[in-house]
């Protein structure tokens, strides 16, 4: 068809390297041009970037919160212990053999043996019933093993399975693994994570809508120029490119603002958190966003910017047609 012939006419002027160079240069010109358009409307641009930055700060901060919560719960997970109460009749020798055998378990990191006598001594000291306990004919406390699972078997389900296995040992009367608080904590953490994901999706959607609306206004503002461009043969792709680049710039700058805001917030919170953790003699340190997370934040912001502008240009640019006036 003749229109297709016209389409390729211009390619006769340049070889393929020339065409690629011209195309890259055109993209660069349009990208820089769209940045220039943002620069020419500083108030609107700054306001939009700040709104985007703040919108992205919230999910990023919540992610930071979830990440640090997970770090804390993982620390507690790894500290979980299984307590094995041995039968009262178990001799010291049998108990020592059992300790050696359990230490060979691949799931076990460490085993501490507390003999019945040692347990009674500690109980006398700690319980305040020292003198009363003197009247007992025999030691009522069993020998105890404190089993620390490896990191892999510290998780609730794996630790439960290990407990069942250890309870199969003949000398063991009963085992105890207080996982209820851990399960509750994990459930709360999972709930928070779900809420954060939900909020993050809503905020990302708002970013798309903000950028979409900003680009829509920019398109309507340049309606006449777009009509002229169409009149002289510009394709929709050519016309929409600067607006897509504008979306990318908004995303990039919004992501940058969000990164700074998250860093400031993390620094502000970590001061108060340090005071709190010092009270519990904890070594917990709030970790900020890693390089990878910052890169993901930037890429997400750019992607949302591009998506918002893409939706807007698809909807509005085609609707603008030149008039003969």
């Amino acid at each position: 068809m003749a229109a297709n012939d016209t389409r390729h006419n211009n390619s006769q002027h340049l070889n393929w390297t020339g065409r690629i160079t011209a195309r890259v240069l055109r993209h660069l010109q349009q990208a820089i041009g769209s940045l220039g358009d943002l620069w020419r409307t500083p108030f609107t641009s700054v306001m939009t970037v700040l709104v985007l930055g703040i919108s992205l700060t919230l999910p990023a901060t919540l992610h930071l919160f979830v990440k640090n919560t997970q770090t804390v719960t993982e620390q507690w997970n790894s500290a979980s212990e299984i307590t094995l109460f041995l039968q009262l009749s178990t001799s010291d020798k049998v108990a020592q053999n059992l300790v050696q055998r359990i230490q060979l378990y691949p799931e076990v990191a460490n085993v501490i043996y507390i003999s019945a006598e040692q347990a009674l001594t500690e109980f006398k000291v700690n319980s305040g019933f020292g003198q009363a306990l003197e009247y007992l004919d025999e030691n009522p406390l069993p020998a105890t093993l404190l089993v620390t699972p490896t990191q892999r078997f510290s998780q609730a389900q794996a630790a439960r399975e290990l407990l069942l296995k250890l309870e199969q040992e003949r000398a063991v009367d009963q085992g105890k693994l207080d996982l209820e608080w851990l399960t509750r904590l994990q459930a709360i953490a999972a709930l928070i994570e779900d809420v954060v994901i939900g909020i993050a999706i809503l905020l990302c959607l708002s970013v798309v809508l903000i950028i979409g609306n900003t680009i829509r206004l920019a398109i309507l503002n340049q309606k006449d120029a777009i009509a002229v461009m169409k009149l002289v043969g510009a394709t929709d792709d050519f016309i929409q490119r600067p607006f897509l680049y504008a979306g990318i710039w908004y995303g990039l700058l919004g992501g940058f603002v969000a990164s700074i805001c998250v860093a400031i917030l993390a620094s502000y919170i970590s001061g108060a958190l340090r005071q709190l953790t010092d009270l519990y003699q904890s070594q917990f340190v709030l970790s900020g966003l890693s390089f990878n997370e910052l890169a993901i934040l930037q890429l997400t912001a750019i992607g949302l910017g591009l998506l918002g502008s893409f939706i807007s240009v698809r909807q509005h640019i085609r609707a603008i047609e030149p008039t003969a006036d």
Partner: protein, 233 residues
Amino acid sequence: MIRFNNVSKTYPGGFLALKKVSFTIAPGEMAFLTGHSGAGKSTLLKLMSVMEKPTVGSIEINGTELSTIKYAQVPYVRRGIGMIFQSHNLLPDRTVFDNVALPLIIEGYSHKETRKRVEAALDKVHLTSKLKCFPNMLSGGEQQRVGIARAIVNKPPILLADEPTGNLDPKLSLDIIRLFEEFNDMGISVLIATHDLGLIARMRYRTLTLKQGHMITDGIVDGLQTISERNGS
């Protein structure tokens, strides 16, 4: 080449703007299109520049059938037509150079080739000195000539002009028409829509006359009086 074959155009609401119009403008031909307001001139130009599609009939521009054209092909058809309007349609925030360069940038010409062609086009319309000016710094006649430079910069085979001399004095109008003659001498088909019957009478080119959507005359017209009579004014 422009070929209209039994073209009718009815707008939504039932207004019949063109009725079975047929004509051909051969490559390298120059012609005028005239008629009263509402005669169908603007509709005919809109159909040629693919702003509208015909309700009935076929239109062929540079070998492309417009009645069945796909949306994605429209820009490529428009690149083959230089369009000039009474209102100039210049981008106010761009310099004369950027306005004239627009079709070349769209088509992906190199910077060097673009500069060369823009300078040549502005030289044709005697505006080389206004390269860095913005449209609001130019007179109406100069703005019209920038519009013409933009229309011819990519050497289209067809030039359409809608009232190109509408706001200009007789001397400037004649200068503009002389420019069109120069382009026509280079082999470009030129169709000028105008109310200026005096101009048409002086130039003695083929004239297509529309009245209430019908093509009532097609040929060289002798003198202003004849035109006026045929238009019924």
